[in-house]
């Protein structure tokens, strides 16, 4: 699954650590999400969407 996490984080000028702290996950998890190595659980995906004020499907995209 692809996602726009890196660009959304960059838009807000946040570090991976700062975003991780806001979401309650580690910096390494934010990095794994950004590079597409790890797909978040549904609760984490919703937390991310709420944090950026966007629907989940605006941030995460299925590989067709």
């Amino acid at each position: 699954m692809r996602n726009d996490l890196r660009s959304l984080r960059a838009e807000r000028g946040l570090s991976q650590q700062a975003l991780g702290d806001a979401l309650g996950v580690s910096r390494q998890t934010v990095n794994s999400l950004e590079v597409g190595k790890y797909d978040p659980s549904l609760p984490l995906a919703i937390r991310i969407a709420r944090f950026f004020g966007r629907p989940v499907e605006d941030i995460f995209h299925l590989d067709d």
């Binding site: 702290d21 309650g24 996950v25 580690s26 910096r27 390494q28 998890t29 978040p40």
Partner: protein, 130 residues
């Protein structure tokens, strides 16, 4: 600010057992073993303290069996899965070795049976929770 996670169930059981082991080593007049175990507990304790706060690498936190978030938990459970498979295969090999070399076949069979029973309980719990 990074939040602090509670100590994992595994470490709540494992660390006290290590401390009891260290005490038993001193009691059995093997202070060198007791000191080695206490040093190990101190090392594990520091690693757990750091992992609870999301510090260090994911490798460190997973090794300490002290996951910080859902990815750490998933990695920990995958690691445990590999550990279980390795234990199963090693114990089966030990049983076969004992059978071929006329070793302690009863003891190895009992240990293999114990691994099978633990595996059945573990998979039952996993399936019911899933």
């Amino acid at each position: 600010m990074t939040s602090t996670r509670p100590i994992s169930l595994f470490n709540r059981i494992f660390v006290p057992l290590l401390l009891i082991g260290a005490g038993a080593a001193f009691w059995r007049d093997a202070p060198q073993v007791g000191i080695a175990v206490l040093l190990a507990v101190a090392f594990v304790g520091v690693t757990i303290w750091r992992a609870q706060r999301g510090m260090g690498s994911a490798y460190e936190r997973v090794n300490a069996l002290q996951p910080y978030d859902e990815r750490d938990r998933e990695l920990t459970m995958t690691g445990f899965g590999y550990l279980g498979m390795a234990l199963f295969i090693v114990q089966t090999l030990l049983f076969l070795y004992a059978a071929v070399t006329h070793g302690d076949i009863t003891g190895e069979a009992v240990r293999l049976l114990a691994v099978c029973l633990i595996s059945i309980v573990a998979t039952t719990v996993a399936v019911r929770r899933g």
